[in-house]
Symmetry: C2
Subunit: 255 residues, 2 copies
Amino acid sequence: MKWQRMHKARANCVACPVLSQGLCGALNDQEALRLSSVSWHRRFSAGQIIHAEGEKPSYFCAVMTGVVKLMKSLPNGDQQIVGLLLPGDFLGRPFGGDSRSSAIAATNVRLCSFPRAVVEGLASESRVVERWLLDHVSDELEKAQDWIVLLGRMSAEQRIATFILSVMRSTHFEDAAAPKSCDEILIELSLSRTEMADYLGLTIETVSRQIARLRERGVIKVGASRTMIIRQPEALEATLEAALPGEGPKSTVRI
Amino acid sequence: MKWQRMHKARANCVACPVLSQGLCGALNDQEALRLSSVSWHRRFSAGQIIHAEGEKPSYFCAVMTGVVKLMKSLPNGDQQIVGLLLPGDFLGRPFGGDSRSSAIAATNVRLCSFPRAVVEGLASESRVVERWLLDHVSDELEKAQDWIVLLGRMSAEQRIATFILSVMRSTHFEDAAAPKSCDEILIELSLSRTEMADYLGLTIETVSRQIARLRERGVIKVGASRTMIIRQPEALEATLEAALPGEGPKSTVRI
DNA sequence: CGAGCACCTTGATCTAGATCAAATGGATCA
DNA sequence: TGATCCATTTGATCTAGATCAAGGTGCTCG
């Protein structure tokens, strides 16, 4: 009986990105059993609130499919997306208090949820789990710092290019030596123009115009339902090399 | 002899902010001894590079006095400060690889440095240390997310106000029920105009002009050598309530 | 004491991106 | 089949903040 439960538990997880790329992959069989035996799956459709700002979450969730946006609202109604969670990512701050941002499904989403206490217990007992959490949060911090650079110093064009490239790379995770077999890369943006604007610190009109410019230049081809074909990835990368060609840094390096 | 070393080790640390607010405060005597027996102090003067982007740091450092800026440079020479480290804060990503930003002394700085291996060993063995690191990184992540909101959605005026308030709060950590005894609060900015601009995603001229406006309105009084007297903290807070008085949110709440 | 230098302020002008305003397109539904 | 409701695009205009360009201010050092 126990064996069967274990077997069933793992069977549920075979195709799960949380096993291949997320927390579960770091667990041994016993830990995985413990976690999967108390886990349950939830679905959210695009736009649904998964977790509201200021509440203490009762669960930790791993994203199985879809995209979750973490957002903060300003008193004037403006919003800013402070992070996107992709399959394998983790929602909730272990050992933390109230959440400082709300989590909202950007697309249809499937989550694997674990009671708070179980994950915290596991982290307290298992070296590996706590280490995984530390690494994961550290990665998130580095991503946030990259975003700070984007928001603090990049032009609208560069922000859009960065975003498109990051979506491209997150799906078409090409190996170091990119084979460049199919030159036309189809990507799915997953976000509405409004969401892109909230993520990139722009307005919806600016996002739309910048995408239009890329289309006119033949860099991308805009498809239906938030898809896009990248025809000249190099052109996107070129806009990120902000230094004018032929010039070194403008003046002496500041320290 | 051993006892004496232990005694000496702790004696060095008595007045250290890393003990009262940082990692060391979380340690037991044995752990503290282990750490302090291999620690050494380093001084950096303002502008010196503590650690360059892209190198793997050999030490972890706790900030004892002064301010350290974490910065990233863009190919065109622009710079963005992605974080400030204050006394008690920690420099270096445990178990991480190459550093993704450079650490530079913004003021004269005293650091308490530990060999990488010792901190990692301590973290691997001590529940408390690893937990402290997790909490610390999680706090940094939340601060970074707040900064993302600042850079993505706030006006220059609001950015300056936020910065001044944060400096004020980090020094005059007033209790919940603020006594408001001395109405004039003297703060030390610690950053040059250029550094403020790099931190706030603005230009130096804009920073200067916004500060001038606050001075003209009587909200602050600008002193010599990067000091400032806050005369109307409420006025600073008021600029952050971006919603126009008497109005609710502009339109229906977006989801 | 004045030259040199780093930092900061102030002024004039320009522009990327915001704002305001319509038009277009694409789904759903009766 | 069109009416409704979206999201998106496109156009016209405005403005906050960038950029360009002098001046101040205060410091150190010969």
